[in-house]
């Protein structure tokens, strides 16, 4: 049963800045650089752009981006909440806008100096009387203040229920760094690690170690989404948005989804996966690879289960058996992920999916037709299935 959105829109252009620890320029400059590259990649100009989609925690207002690009009329601008959980949501927003005729070309962008300016890895805190600030305060007041510690609480319980160990988690990091080692765009290019390196890395928030945590990075990634029909006539081989979905369950909070029976970050993943497969008319076995959001390497395990690549509780064995490396049954994060390449809030993962489907990835998998891409789990989240032309 194909959904009404399936196949209507395509990624026609892609652009990115270099990824670094100190970009040396403003976030707005990063944004317009990446978007300009994406537009040129598609063979379009700012004059063709009539929609913009991004997600919260980006500091670049759509109208300022447009003014700097020299563009004119925007029909649609949308910014989805929940930061990294919304990484794939701009694709859904763009696809809906294009499919309904609201827009002809939507730019999706992410541009941050989250290493050299306002860092993302430190303690969080929100002031004020709003519901979100109150809930954040309710947790931070007890000394639970970093994303790592919030995720650690969920993963400790996951270990208890599945028997997974820190050594099992190591396989995600080691595989990511193995892929990053051959990716010149990766911060950890040429720097693979071993299981022992992971096990010897310092504890950050038990059970998470330093090498379980993604990087902080400066950089930007942008995409141009048009109708699939129009994309066929543009410069690049179209990457079809076969499915895109968001998901939050009744008890999903922002990394503190602690008040539901299963506190592993799985429920929202399952909800998104069900939508994606139904919309695409595809199954997990139809994916040649997956880009799974690795804000924390261990969070990849519940995603493997929630998206149906293995049974509940079996991800620990799946990652140990070599399945997630290039050459395995389901290569994961072939660019090195956010652990190895850079942390551009999931958008660099979408870029890797595009490269794999175009056949231009550095760690190219053979005969790629469908790629599942996910956003941050443990919070209201999103995902997509990107495909080659049928």
């Amino acid at each position: 049963m194909m959904g009404g959105l399936s196949g209507k829109a395509a990624i026609a252009g892609m652009g990115a800045t270099e990824f670094s620890k100190n970009s040396g320029r403003s976030e707005l400059q990063l944004a317009v650089e990446a978007i300009s590259i994406a537009l040129a990649d598609a063979g379009l100009t700012a004059a063709d752009v009539d929609g913009m989609a991004t997600f919260t925690m980006d500091n670049n207002p759509e109208n300022e981006v447009m003014r700097n690009l020299g563009g004119s009329d925007l029909n649609f601008f949308t910014r989805v909440h929940y930061g990294g959980g919304a990484a794939c949501a701009p694709l859904q927003q763009a696809a809906m806008a294009v499919a309904t005729g609201v827009c002809k070309a939507v730019v999706c962008y992410r541009a941050m100096n989250e290493r050299s300016e306002a860092r993302l890895g430190g303690p969080v805190g929100l002031g004020g009387f709003g519901a979100e600030a109150q809930l954040v305060s309710y947790h931070t007041v007890h000394g639970l203040q970093t994303a790592a510690a919030m995720m650690a609480m969920s993963m400790r319980r996951y270990m208890h229920e599945t028997g997974a160990t820190s050594r099992d988690f190591a396989h995600v990091s080691v595989t990511a760094r193995h892929h990053a080692a051959t990716n010149p765009n990766a911060y950890f290019y040429g720097k693979p690690i071993t299981i022992e390196d992971h096990q010897n890395s310092r504890p950050i928030a038990d059970p998470l170690r330093l090498l379980d945590c993604c990087q902080e990075s400066d950089g930007a990634v942008a995409f141009v989404v048009t109708s699939a029909e129009r994309a066929r006539d543009l410069k690049q081989r179209p990457v079809i948005i076969r499915a895109a979905a968001q998901g939050a369950t009744r008890d999903t909070q922002q990394l503190t989804s602690y008040y539901r029976p299963d506190i592993s970050p799985t429920d929202e993943v399952r909800l998104i996966g069900d939508q994606l497969y139904a919309m695409a008319g595809l199954a997990p076995a139809d994916m040649q690879l997956a880009i799974l959001y690795d804000h924390f390497g261990p969070a990849v395990l519940p995603q493997l289960e929630g998206y149906g690549f293995c049974k509940p509780g079996e991800a620990k064995d799946f990652v140990k058996d070599g399945n997630i490396a290039v050459g395995g049954t389901l290569p994961v994060n072939t660019h090195g992920g956010q652990l190895g390449e850079a942390y551009i809030h999931g958008m660099n993962g979408i870029a890797e999916a595009v490269r794999q489907l175009r056949g231009t990835a550095v760690n190219q998998v053979s005969d790629v037709h469908n790629v599942l891409v996910s956003a941050g789990n443990g919070l209201p989240s999103s995902g997509a299935i990107l495909s080659t032309l049928p």
Binding site: G122, P123, V124, M153, A205
Partner: protein, 141 residues
């Protein structure tokens, strides 16, 4: 591993949530009481606090005293970066309370290596770490 030194962490939140849905909890602690919302409509205890009962839709609720003990459902030991005013390492537990709701809080007096899921803990109320009334979990039923 990372060439760049990290910036010092600043604890960004040292005051309690004093909004209309949460204040009762800390006001209760000031009186030495552990309070949780009980729904007028169906009697469900709910935490974290909120204005409406997800079970029955009632907007009516009353804070009730609850038993101050439970068992550890999960926990983490925060080690980096330091988050003053808490000492490092800092243990935080998610506890299944005897009355059937879940409560998050800091843990004192237990070595990190002795923390375990299933451990019986109880609430101690006082002024710990903060200038305002707070609570912590300690070992014991």
């Amino acid at each position: 591993m990372y060439a760049e030194a990290g910036t010092p962490a600043q604890a960004k939140q040292t005051s309690y949530p004093a909004g209309r849905d949460f204040a009762f909890f800390f006001e209760g602690l000031a009186e030495g009481r552990l309070l949780v919302q009980r729904c007028h409509g169906c009697g469900t205890l709910r935490n974290p606090p909120g204005p409406m009962c997800g079970e029955c839709g009632s907007l009516g609720w009353v804070p009730v005293d609850v038993q101050p003990h439970g068992t550890v459902f999960s926990y983490t030991v925060h080690r980096h970066p330091p988050i003053p005013p808490f000492a490092t390492p800092h243990v935080v537990a998610l506890v299944d309370m005897a009355d059937g709701f879940r409560l998050l809080g800091p843990v004192s007096g237990i070595a990190p290596e002795d923390m375990a899921i299933g451990l019986p803990v109880r609430v101690e109320i006082g002024r710990f770490e903060h200038p305002f009334p707070s609570f912590r979990f300690v070992e014991g039923a």
